[in-house]
């Protein structure tokens, strides 16, 4: 991992809306704010996780990073350059730096093309290599992801799902990118195959010094791979935390609920206690308030304070690299919700973040003044 320095990728108050034509609304379509004022920064060489339930906007963030979608507001900066307005050659150059691995290994490969052709694409598009050279590099890629070069002339359907995902990774690597966005690359795989792909990603990240944005709803996979994690809920960042902080002292009631919902491999141990009610799609979040308020256990315990409904909590830093978007996250002792025994956390000792400093907020001017005083009950 690289040391402290300028972030490689910054998301600056990024917003993405869907829908909204008057005719569509007339027919009953709603405007969806899939990503709502998200600010993140990711350092070079880091593995950054994005978790959240279905519909929380993870994929949308990922697609905006690789410029498959444009934000409706905000900026995305790669090495300081705003990529949201790149066109033509500049965009093509950007594509060499940032790649994507997709969720579904069956759908992300063109069933009508041989693996070789798909892998050669990058060299042809970017004029990186041709002829024997290109062939050599394609073969090397195959070996890098643990496949044999003899498989190059096969069609996708002749591979197992794990192998296909490896091909997807090989394709992403073919332009030698600096950053890879992996959108749920293992969710569609069997557990044992998942492990193989996770290992591969981790190995690549370390060996090649890749920056990885790893999108998943699986906290286990995220915590295995990523040193920092952002938790999204209905398009907003709830919490950004280093791995240890996430596992040991998640601050946001939603993150706690997520952790508490994870079944454990130790028989008869976990999920008997209700840590979250309802469904992400159940209730409309209050306009202007906290999107998580309707399901929030903490809020209920605090006697349903109005503030949650009227004022949007902006991310604020709890400790270095750990930010939370909750008015009351540290307001009480949380005897029940603190699922992690203090002892275990303490035993591990205070963590020194190995990651570069990063807080969810890079533009303090846009953070409401309330944040600083919000820490009081």
């Amino acid at each position: 991992m690289s040391g402290i320095g300028r972030p490689l990728l910054e998301l600056d108050h990024v917003e993405r809306m869907f829908g909204g034509s008057w005719l569509g609304r007339l027919g009953g379509d709603n405007v969806v704010r899939a990503v709502d004022d998200v600010t993140l920064s990711i350092a070079a060489g880091e593995a950054f996780g994005i978790v959240g339930e279905s519909g929380s906007g993870k994929t949308t963030v990922g697609r905006m990073i690789v410029r498959l979608l444009d934000p409706t507001a905000g900026a995305i900066r790669f090495e300081g350059q705003d990529i949201t307005r790149l066109r033509g050659g500049a965009l093509l150059a950007y594509r060499r730096s940032v790649q994507m691995v997709f969720q579904n290994p069956y759908l992300s490969l063109n069933p009508r093309r041989r693996v070789r052709d798909m892998l050669l694409d990058a060299y042809r598009i970017h004029h990186l290599a041709s002829g024997r050279d290109a062939e050599e590099r394609v073969a090397a890629l195959m070996e890098m992801v643990g496949l044999r070069r003899t498989m190059l002339d096969r069609y996708p359907h002749e591979f197992s799902s794990g192998q296909r995902q490896r091909i997807g990774i090989a394709r992403a690597l073919s332009v030698e990118p600096r950053l890879i966005v992996a959108d749920e690359p293992v969710s569609a795989l069997d557990v044992s195959v998942q492990a193989q792909v996770l290992n591969l990603l981790r190995g690549l990240q370390e060996e090649l010094g890749l920056t990885v944005v790893f999108i998943s709803h699986d906290l286990r996979a995220v915590s295995f791979l990523c040193s920092r994690v952002a938790v999204l809920y209905l398009g907003q960042v709830m919490e950004v935390a280093p791995r240890r902080a996430l596992v040991e002292r998640a601050a946001h009631p939603y993150t706690q609920a997520l952790m508490g919902s994870m079944p454990s491999l130790a028989p008869g141990s976990g999920i008997t206690r209700e840590v979250i009610r309802g469904d992400i799609a159940d209730q409309q979040p209050p306009p202007g308030g906290c999107v998580f308020a309707p399901r929030c256990e903490l809020r209920r315990r605090l006697g349903d304070p109005d503030r949650c409904l009227t004022e949007r909590p902006w991310p604020r830093e709890l400790s270095e690299g750990h930010a939370v978007a909750c008015h009351f996250a540290d307001a009480e002792a949380r005897p029940d919700t603190d699922a992690r025994p203090e002892a275990t956390g303490a035993a591990a000792g205070p963590t020194t973040p190995t990651t570069p400093t990063m807080v969810g907020i890079s533009d303090p001017t846009r953070v409401p003044a309330v944040t600083s005083t919000g820490a009081t009950t």
Binding site: L23, L26, G27, G28, D29
Partner: protein
């Protein structure tokens, strides 16, 4: 639902506007001078003048269009230069006959296609499916007028059960009217039926593949419940949309059938107008056919939404 219907209706409006443009420009793309194309070189100068005035060919194109559209909106499609009668009333007189034939054809198509289509779909790739599908394919290749000719020879001329041609308005004499419409309806309906059988069959096959069907089995639901509530109920929304399309096919098919059975519908004037190059008539007819088709499809779409809550309240 109402919002959805409103949206569909609003979406149909530009279509109607476009249709009017299409029809308007139709005579203006006739190679050469349209009036000459219609009347010939040595035409009666009176008529030439009248037609020129009717189309206003010398005005700027926008004025021409506005004038024409204004007239059309008031129900004035100009005069048919062959008969020198106003076009609109002639067509209005024919709409009932064409609609009646279309409904008759639709009825025959439905009666034939629904049971067979559903049966073939439910017995996908089994013997009865094979038999039905083969017959369907044969039907698909049978031109309507050819079937009609054979039907006419058998039932009207040899067996003398039904009249070979003619028409009586339903309001005038329902029994006679139905006697007249049987042969043409069957001829046209049998052309629509194979198309419908195929759609119904493949829709049923798709429905049978949906997980809710085996799940309904797993719940031990009665077979009638599964049939009506699961298969038929899910077939309906798609079915009404297909009916919209089928109506188009029937309208098109009615042209030849009307000619064959001397059925005084729009199809007959259409063919007459085409052979006589009576462009005012052709314009009006294309517009009327288009509007009928658009309206029916609109109804079908709205009906689909009414039958399928997913569309209605997306």
């Amino acid at each position: 639902m109402a919002r959805y219907a409103l949206q569909r209706i609003l979406l149909a409006l530009p279509l109607l506007f476009g249709l009017s443009l299409l029809v308007f420009f139709y005579v203006r793309i006739i190679p050469g001078d349209p009036v000459t194309a219609m009347l010939g070189v040595q035409a009666n100068p009176d008529l030439v003048a009248r037609l020129r005035a009717q189309y206003g060919f010398d005005e700027p194109i926008l004025d021409q269009y506005l004038m024409w559209l204004g007239n059309v909106l008031q129900g004035d499609f100009g005069i048919s230069f062959r008969s020198r009668q106003a076009v609109a009333p002639i067509i209005v007189d024919r709409i009932p006959a064409t609609l009646q034939l279309m409904l008759g054809g639709l009825f025959v198509s439905l009666v034939v296609a629904i049971p067979f289509g559903i049966r073939a779909g439910m017995k996908y790739r089994q013997r009865s499916d094979t038999v039905i599908s083969t017959i369907t394919l044969v039907g698909l290749g049978s031109p309507g007028f050819w079937l009609g000719t054979i039907l006419m020879v058998i039932f009207a001329l040899v067996l003398k059960w039904l009249p070979s041609q003619g028409y009586t308005p339903f309001t005038q004499d329902p029994v006679a009217s139905i006697r007249y419409m049987i042969l043409p309806s069957v001829a046209i309906g049998l052309v629509g039926a194979p198309f419908l059988v195929r759609v119904v069959r493949s829709t049923v096959v798709e429905i049978m593949k949906e997980p809710f069907v085996p799940y309904a089995d797993a719940r031990g639901l009665r077979e009638q419940v599964i049939f009506w509530r699961y298969i038929i109920r899910n077939l309906l929304p798609q079915f009404v949309v297909v009916l919209g399309v089928l109506v188009g096919a029937l309208l098109a098919g009615s042209v030849a059938i009307e000619a064959l059975f001397n059925w005084p519908g729009m199809g007959r004037i259409f063919i007459g107008a085409v052979t006589e190059r009576d462009y005012a008539m052709i314009q009006a007819l294309i517009l009327v056919y288009g509007v009928i088709f658009v309206v029916i499809n609109l109804i079908a779409e709205i009906a689909q939404a009414a039958l399928d809550p997913r569309i209605r309240l997306k």
